[in-house]
């Protein structure tokens, strides 16, 4: 059980929460995630990246977008409520060293997991260029925090409502063309964005890490639901990842696997809403 210490709405359906979790705060490293459940009996286990941690307060920060029933319910919880199941830190931490020049690309909510990694890379002495992007201005998150870390900072929006009117791949390509080329690129965001970031850096042979957000059940290597094809080898994202060489990941397969339950989830979701509506009617 973990108490919600602080909650803030970052954009239309993106929320930030600080949760009481002293042990996780102590052990976690950049790149790791937690799994949580909003209901111990019927809730599903959802993975969320640890965006930040405060050892003194004994808390971790998560940032999530409302995309389904569990995140919707989580977003409705308030400060002082308890999240019944919270487990972590899971996954292999990001390998941090002084690579030299690093480009960090964050798309939409992906900026949240990117933040601790960019911070750690900066602390290790890297020259850090940060590119963040979103569909529109309203969906840009953590701009100030990222700007504070970056040696160079670029914001793009798809519709041009803020910063450059571009996809993140455009400035990424420019960075690759500069001399010397980047020693490392890290891209975190929607699968399609990561796929195209990897395709962008490939011709320049810039090593590119991506952080995968597959479906998970246990998060400890027991079920294989999180598996992805990396260079023809099956890898389990929860224990082998979440970070992999973006040039080797089979993104198309990963994207179709992410949609495994799309049809059902929609239906379930409606069905729950229907039920709620019926209950209301019954009360009248």
């Amino acid at each position: 059980m973990s108490k919600i210490l602080f909650k803030k709405r970052l954009s239309q359906d993106v929320y930030l929460m600080r949760l009481e979790a002293p042990l996780i705060a102590e052990e976690r490293e950049a790149g790791q995630f937690i799994m949580l459940q909003v209901d111990n009996d019927y809730g599903e286990r959802i993975p969320l990246t640890i965006a930040d941690a405060d050892k003194e307060e004994g808390s971790i920060t998560i940032i999530f977008q409302v995309v389904g029933k569990s995140t919707d319910e989580l977003s409705k919880m308030v400060e002082g409520d308890n999240v019944p199941t919270l487990v972590g830190p899971l996954g292999t931490p990001t390998h941090i060293e002084n690579f030299g020049r690093v480009v960090c690309v964050g798309g939409g909510i992906g900026v949240a997991p990117l933040h601790p990694i960019a911070q750690a890379l900066k602390n290790a002495g890297n020259h850090v260029t940060i590119i963040i992007g979103a569909r529109n201005k309203e969906l840009i998150i953590l701009e100030e925090e990222m700007k504070a870390i970056a040696d160079e900072f670029i914001v793009c929006t798809d519709d041009g409502s803020y910063g450059r009117k571009d996809l993140v791949t455009a400035p990424l390509k420019e960075e690759c063309e500069k001399s010397p080329k980047p020693d490392l690129a890290i891209a975190i965001g929607p699968p399609v964005m990561m796929k195209f970031c990897a395709l962008t850096t490939k011709p320049y042979d810039v090593h590119t890490l991506v952080s995968l957000n597959t479906i998970m059940v246990d998060g400890t290597g027991m079920c294989g639901g999180c598996r992805v094809d990396v260079g023809g080898v099956v890898k389990f994202v929860c224990v082998d990842g979440p970070e992999f060489d973006g040039h080797k990941v089979d993104f198309d397969n990963m994207i179709s696997r992410l949609n495994s339950y799309k049809a059902i989830e929609r239906k379930d979701h409606d069905c729950h809403l229907e039920k709620a509506a019926n209950e209301k009617e019954g009360q009248l």
């Binding site: 042990l23 972590g88 027991m222 598996r227 992805v228 389990f236 089979d250 198309d252 379930d268």
Partner: protein, 502 residues
């Protein structure tokens, strides 16, 4: 045999008991062997394959006593020798025959801690019942004394009386022991170590306790209420429980000793990492490990479609690959979740199947279709990446291999295609990598299983291990046996420390 109604079986046993009681004391072995074996009372196959309730309903008192009367009370107790924890089988059965169930349970509990569970899931036909004199005499292992069913009856009786005895706990010693994992191995260690008065904390990665017994073995075979009962006993004994705690991640293994002051640690983290076949199409949507499918259905309650948030893949035609208990559970669960056709694809023949006989029998009754001597070659997908068919190769049995089983050999050109929308892979597990990856000093073998000495001690001081993490995917009773051995070693270590004034 067609399904016999539970009521009829109960009535029949009542009559038989009256008849045999009158002359039990004078009965010769031959007469005892003529007593009809008592069938388990079961739900009708066509009803149960649509519900999650336990398939086997259990013996009545009369059935149990009649079945117990079949035991010959042999001098050379083959059944005891074949039981991994050496339960005094003829002794407990004698008390059942006499109707003294309390004494019977006391006898079992001298050596076994989880009889309600073992009675349900042990592979009896390969253990205690394998060489039973009665089965041998009748030339059919299925005619052996039904030791497992009797064990289950006795344990259920105790639970239903509400008189489950909480083991005595000795005065606190001040020593602290961490138990990692709450499967059968961990449960047994927690109980045995706590009994000696040591302070025990059990850590579990999941939000619910019980290990595979909770997330793998389905409700229709092992109801959760039975696991809850065992956990309740541990709770009453004062075992502390910490769920949502992944040792190696939430806390490093060595930190449990160095920072948290534990005097000993037991690792019962079970098998992990499901093995896939490595064939084309295995990452298509609709291919699952049996572990994932069963975890969704059991632990995450996806069978309860109206309430659970965790979805389960909707299937019409399902191929289950493998021949063990896990494959049987996955197949029968798929049927219960609404699949029309469930095919089990197994490389060898029925004789070689590692699953319990009873499960194979139940699966057939429930309409699962078996395709023996077949192996998948390739899985075909639709344009949007979903399973639409599976190609299988036919096999024949060749010469016996090292294990003595006849080796299956592929028949060239025998491939054919079956239309399926779901493939459940159940060909075994690797070992749970979390502890070894986060604990560089821990010695493991080439399959990643933790290596231990004969007292279950690992290569690291004060750290013991047992169950599937040591044996590879094995059984509940073997996990329990290893747990008992580890607990004895831990208790010995702590006793010596206390005596030395440490």
């Amino acid at each position: 045999m067609s399904h016999q109604s539970p009521e009829m079986l109960a009535e029949k046993a009542k009559e038989l008991l009256v008849e045999y009681l009158a002359r039990y004391d004078e009965m010769k072995p031959k007469e005892k062997m003529a007593i009809p074996a008592q069938p388990m009372r079961e739900q009708d196959p066509d009803v149960r394959n649509k519900n999650l309730e336990e398939v086997a309903i259990g013996y009545t008192m009369e059935q149990a006593r009649v079945e117990a009367m079949r035991c010959l009370q042999c001098k050379k107790q083959q059944c005891v020798a074949d039981c991994p924890v050496e339960i005094d089988i003829p002794e407990f059965i004698k008390h059942v025959a006499n109707g003294d169930i309390q004494t019977a349970i006391d006898v079992i509990k001298r050596t076994s801690l989880l009889p309600a569970i073992c009675g349900r899931v042990c592979p009896q036909e390969a253990q205690c019942q394998m060489n039973c004199t009665v089965g041998k005499g009748l030339k059919d292992v299925n005619q052996a004394v039904a030791i497992g069913r009797l064990e289950r009856f006795v344990a259920d009786w105790e639970r239903e009386q509400g008189v489950v005895k909480i083991p005595d706990v000795k005065p606190e010693t001040g020593k602290k022991v961490a138990v990692v994992g709450s499967g059968p191995a961990g449960l047994v260690v927690a109980a045995d170590v706590r009994r000696e008065g040591h302070d025990v904390t059990m850590y579990e990665a999941f939000h619910k306790l019980g290990g595979v017994m909770r997330y793998g073995i389905p409700e229709f075979r092992l109801p959760n209420s039975i696991i809850d009962q065992e956990l309740d006993t541990l709770d009453k004994m004062g075992v502390k429980i910490q769920t949502n705690f992944v040792v190696g991640r939430t806390r490093k293994l060595v930190d449990l000793i160095e920072k948290d002051g534990f005097d000993a640690v037991f690792l019962g983290t079970g098998a992990g990492l499901p093995i896939f076949m490595g064939i084309e199409g295995e990452n298509l949507v609709g291919v699952f490990s049996a572990n994932e499918y069963l975890t969704r259905a059991n632990l995450m309650r996806a069978y309860d479609k109206d309430f659970a948030d965790t979805p389960i893949y909707p299937s019409k035609n399902v191929a289950v690959v493998g021949g063990g208990n896990v494959a049987m559970d996955a197949a029968r669960m798929a049927k219960r979740l609404g699949a029309e056709n469930v095919y089990v694809i197994y490389r060898r023949t029925e004789n070689e199947m590692p699953a319990r006989n009873e499960e194979i029998h139940h699966a057939k009754e429930e309409g699962i279709q078996f395709h023996f001597l077949r192996n998948p070659k390739k899985i075909f997908g639709t344009e949007d990446g979903r399973v639409k068919a599976i190609e299988v190769t036919k096999f024949e049995l060749g010469e016996p291999d090292a294990s003595g089983r006849r080796r299956p050999i592929a028949i060239p050109g025998s491939e054919y295609i079956m239309d399926v929308d779901t493939v459940l892979v159940s060909i075994g597990n690797g070992s749970n990598p979390l502890i070894s990856r986060t604990t560089p000093d821990m010695k493991v073998n080439k399959w990643g299983n933790i290596t231990v000495d004969e007292s279950q001690k690992t290569s690291m001081n004060k750290i013991y291990a047992g169950g599937d993490i040591v044996l590879g995917a094995a059984t509940v009773i073997l996990a329990m046996g290893e747990g008992r051995r580890a607990a004895a070693a831990i208790n010995k270590q702590l006793k010596e420390e206390i005596e030395a004034g440490k």
